[in-house]
């Protein structure tokens, strides 16, 4: 059974290789092939889950050492997989949601002439992400990490003929590189400090302490901060969040994949996996919490102002991942809930994105919500599934998001003291804003009057329901959005499932769980109400109003690009210009001058070589005299 573990990664990887190398003869059925490989991996995941459930809790973790990767004296890196409750959770999310997105893409990308390549990249994305969550050491994790970066680059820029897509891909890649630097530095620090980067010896497993226990807090804080930087890059957390909005240039299934199943969840995984490090580095943990809290509000505000349906959802992702990072930063109180929210979010965010894609599909690829309106009658399935996702994300009681978000808010209060109150307040505020902007999306898209506009070629939109390859995944995901949270919370099943890996502690909340739930629900209702008052009662203008300063800033992603430009790009360009100047004038001048000098000396010395044997003999004689004289001189001194 354990031999299936490498196949989890190998199946989609083989799919990617086959599709990329197979050439045009695979054009007709390549997409089904890719979907089959994704589904195969999911099936392996289910089999492994069944086998894991059949074992005692203590024996659930499985290690598979495949081969020795870099066997250098003093530097041992293996290719090995570690399958435990945490990684199988991710495996099922990645392959499950991933397979649905593959299926959806079959319909969505039906008319794209580079469809085979698209599916190859999708498979590659899954393989890289699976490698990331299955690796049993940080170095191999880093391989998956970089693979995810590569696949996201390829997919975001898939429509590379659009300059905006090419730029967005480049931006995502570059911003991610900053985070990657963090991860590589963290790995180097680990190696320098512990001489290893394997999870087992480093982090310890249940009952045994890892090497991190002996390290000083300062070093662990440094490692933790570098891991956080890495997580910020992949998970689009402040200050490395700027790529996420632009990444919407990719085809919509890609957005769903990035936001729900892969990529942005990698940061949460990394922090949760490194729990042993963060638990011993309170300062790093506090930073994690701050980053999460700031991003939570930041994303929510951006989500409120966007008229582009995908960008509004992107802001929402940023905000929801902020919840998870915040929860992960709370330590043992929050790890389980971070992952639980990650899974439920995977369902409803995938559903929402696929719904958005379905809407765009029916509306001539229009993305501006101000040009939608009243679509519920034309796209009933999309409306219902999207609506269920919406209810889930705002935390409507009984649906998935309600349970998982509620737990995070409880955990935030449970942090205790002033911190607890601040964090609790922030998460509640976030919940309210989430309800506001998601209701806005819902109202602008499916309710109100038609504000449809003809597209650039003058075609009037004729909204219609999407083909069943697109509908089925949406329906399946809607089920997840509705029931997953409840299932997880029933008997605290998810808590018991994951606790052996992440550990768990109950904090001391100043408020009872029921009170928190009530307040959360009230916040949610308030958000929905405000939104309804603003967008449900009066007609929505097709041209956006000027808006307040905050709105204008939020439309520009809260000036993140302006900030990066002023703080990083401009000094960077200045530095590069200065270096170029120094290089061309200083270094090149020196080097060229040196070369010219040597050339000059050479031409002058050449004249000694005049071809007359008499002068050669003379030079030899002179040389001999000097040699004799020097030898004698050496003796006398």
């Amino acid at each position: 059974m354990n031999s299936l573990i490498p196949l989890l990664v190998a199946a989609p990887l083989a799919g990617a290789a086959l599709l990329l190398l197979g050439g045009r003869r695979l054009d007709r059925f390549g997409h089904w092939l890719a979907t089959a490989f994704a589904a195969l991996s999911f099936a392996f995941g289910l089999a492994l889950l069944a086998s894991m459930l059949g074992r005692e809790t203590a024996e659930r973790q499985v290690d598979v050492n495949l081969f020795s990767w870099i066997p250098v004296n003093g530097f041992q890196a293996d290719v090995g997989f570690q399958l435990d409750q945490l990684s199988i959770t991710f495996v099922l999310l990645i392959t499950g949601v991933g397979t649905l997105i593959h299926l959806y893409s079959v319909g969505y990308m039906a008319h794209d002439e580079r469809r085979r390549r698209f599916f190859a990249y999708l498979n590659l994305f899954l393989a890289a992400m699976l490698l990331l969550v299955l690796a049993d050491n940080y170095l191999l994790l880093y391989v998956g990490w970089e693979g995810v970066g590569l696949a996201s680059y390829l997919l975001i820029g898939f429509w590379q003929h659009k300059p905006s897509a090419a730029t967005a891909a480049k931006k995502a890649f570059l911003v991610n590189r900053v985070g990657d630097m963090g991860l590589s530095i963290a790995i180097m620090l680990m190696f320098a400090e512990f001489g290893s980067f394997a999870f087992g010896p480093l982090l310890g497993s249940e009952g045994t302490a890892g090497a991190v226990g002996q390290a000083s807090e300062g070093k662990l804080t440094a490692i933790g901060l570098m891991l956080l930087l890495a997580a910020c890059g992949k998970s689009a957390q402040v200050p490395l969040q700027s790529w996420l909005g632009d990444a919407m240039e990719g085809p919509t299934p890609v957005s769903a994949l990035i936001h729900a199943a892969t990529m942005v969840t990698a940061g949460v995984y990394l922090i949760t996996r490194s729990a042993s490090i963060f638990n011993l580095a309170p300062d790093a943990q506090t930073t994690v919490v701050v980053v999460g809290a700031v991003t939570l509000i930041f994303g929510a505000i951006v989500g409120c102002a966007k008229d582009d349906i995908k960008k509004a959802l992107a802001g929402s992702t940023m905000s929801q991942i902020g919840y998870m990072i915040l929860a992960a930063g709370l330590g043992p109180i929050g790890y389980v809930y971070a992952i639980m929210h990650l899974v439920t979010h995977g369902f409803f965010k995938a559903g929402l994105f696929l719904g958005a894609g379905s809407v765009m599909h029916g509306m001539n690829d229009e993305v501006n919500m101000r040009h939608y309106g009243g679509l519920r009658k034309y796209m009933p399935v999309t409306f219902v599934t999207f609506g269920l996702g919406y209810l889930a994300i705002i935390g409507f009681p009984g649906l998935s998001g309600f349970f998982s978000k509620d737990k995070i808010i409880e955990a935030a209060f449970a942090k205790g003291g002033t911190e607890g109150w601040i964090l609790g307040g922030v998460t509640l505020l976030g919940a309210a804003i989430t309800a506001f902007y998601m209701t806005r999306v819902m109202l602008l898209t499916f309710f109100g009057e038609k504000r449809w506009q003809p597209d650039a070629e003058g075609h009037e939109p004729h909204p219609h329901e999407s083909p069943s390859t697109m509908k089925i995944p949406m329906i399946v995901l809607a089920f997840g959005s509705v029931f997953a949270g409840g299932l997880f919370t029933l008997n605290s099943s998810f808590l018991h499932w994951l606790e052996p890996v992440t550990g768990h502690a109950e904090g001391d909340s100043p408020l009872s769980p029921l009170t928190v739930t009530l307040i959360t629900t009230l916040c949610m209702v308030a958000g929905v109400a405000v939104s309804y008052l603003m967008y449900g009662r009066s007609p929505v203008p097709v041209v956006p109003p000027v808006g307040s300063a905050l709105t204008r800033a939020a439309r520009r992603d809260l000036l993140q690009d302006d900030f990066n430009h002023a703080v990083l790009v401009r000094p960077g360009s200045a530095l590069a210009a200065a270096l170029v100047y120094f290089d061309s004038r200083g270094l090149d001048g020196f080097v060229n001058g040196l070369a010219a000098t040597i050339g000059g000396v050479s031409s002058r010395l050449r004249r000694i070589q005049n071809g007359y044997v008499r002068s050669y003999a003379l030079s030899m004689f002179g040389g001999t005299l000097v040699l004799v004289a020097t030898t004698l001189l050496m003796r006398s001194v």
Partner: protein
Amino acid sequence: MSHWLAAAGGNSASIPAPHVEYGQLSPMLVVFGAAVAGILAEAFLPRRARYWSQVTIALLGLAGAFTAVIVLASQGYGSTRVDLLAMGAVALDGPALFLQGVILLVAVVAVLTYAERKVEPKAGGVPVDAFVAQAAATPGGEQERAAVRAGFASTEVFPLTMFAVGGMLLFPAANDLLTMFVALEVFSLPLYLLCALARRRRLLSQEAAVKYFLLGAFASAFFLFGTALLYGYAGSVRLGDIADVISGEAPATQALLSTTQNDALLLIGLALLSVGLLFKVGAVPFHSWTPDVYQGAPTPVTGFMAAATKVAAFGALMRLFYVAFPGLRWDWRPVMWGVAILTMVVGAVLAVTQQDVKRLLAYSSIAHAGFILTGVIATNKQGLGAVLFYLLAYSFVTLGAFAVVTLVRDSRGEATHLSSWAGLGRRSPLLAAVFALFLLAFAGIPLTSGFTGKFAVFQAAAAGGATPLVIIGVLSSAVAAFFYIRVIVLMFFSDPQPGGPTVAVPSAFTATAIGVGVLVTLGLGLLPQYFLDLASKVSPFVR
């Protein structure tokens, strides 16, 4: 009279009968035997049979000698056993055996390039090689034209080369100064002749030969004078005896009391001996013959000379310094430092402005002599191994490079002016790539043998306390890299000249020679460990 007898032991009746170990001397004896057989073939065989028989005799002789070297090595000579042969005149030890092996391999490849008869246009309907039709004919005269029409060829080059090889085998093994001198002359005289035998540009070739001969004789005179002074100092020409007298272990010879242990004799003798040997390796300021001779000599001879002479001469130089003068290290090291620095710098700097491929390679060989000297100066076991490895690596790159030069031709023979090499990479990518590989090896770029060799000698020199020398060596390498890379740029990134040279398609002989060069260059670069071990495991010099 009385002096001489006294020095020889005072009893004229007790001159012992020489005892010669034929088995252990067999590498040299086989080569000399092959040389004599070549002379006989030259004298008695008809003209048309000579070429093939000479090539066969030469290759068989070299193969036989190399087999003898291998057999000796397998008996433990050179690693665990050392011996003095022929009453102490010849040493059989690690460095000697290793260098003899290298010289023999070099000679095999060189003979292959000699045997090339496909690249020269046929003369009188007969395929001819790079050597003159009739050496004694006046250049451009009627007699020469007649000889060319008749399709004559100087097959004497083969026995001449075999004599030179024999002398070179003896040179690094010579354990007394007189044997060393004899060996020097035995290999030098055939080389002087060989230089004069170019088929094309005969005047240049003859001029080169005369220059080489005059300056070589001059240098030999210094060597001989040095020998005499040292005999005056130590009462013996045996290297080991000289060392004993210097260290005070051996009693002074009665008859020479007035001169024995006169330090002036010792130091001047040492300096003069060094001049003789430094001339052969082409070290500055005794290098001036190198470019002219390399350019004028027939290119196959240049390749042989550049590779094999250097191997033999460095072997003798090290034996001299390591065996006879280890006690004088602090006297000769500073001087050798100066020579090494000058050699590296002058070689590299002068090469920068060269316009002729053969002259360029000549200056490059001067610079390389400087690099090898840094390893010699290290005076440690590591340095010995590094120099041996360097010599092996360098010889094959040199042979290969000169073999490539023989193939780039226009109507006047080899096109050695650099401007005609422009764009060669487009006309003949394979040949240009091969030459580029050799240039990269000369420059010491990793994954070639040149890098490994240079790294080894510099490492040894640094370990031997010659760090400043290493720094200058690395800087010179940087200058040298410029002109090597310049040729590569010229070949691959310039437009070919209209009416430029063509690349001749060689026979299997030259192709094999170049192929061996490529293989050794890459082999010693990619997997150097075996040969590094071989070179570093050799026994030290025997005394």
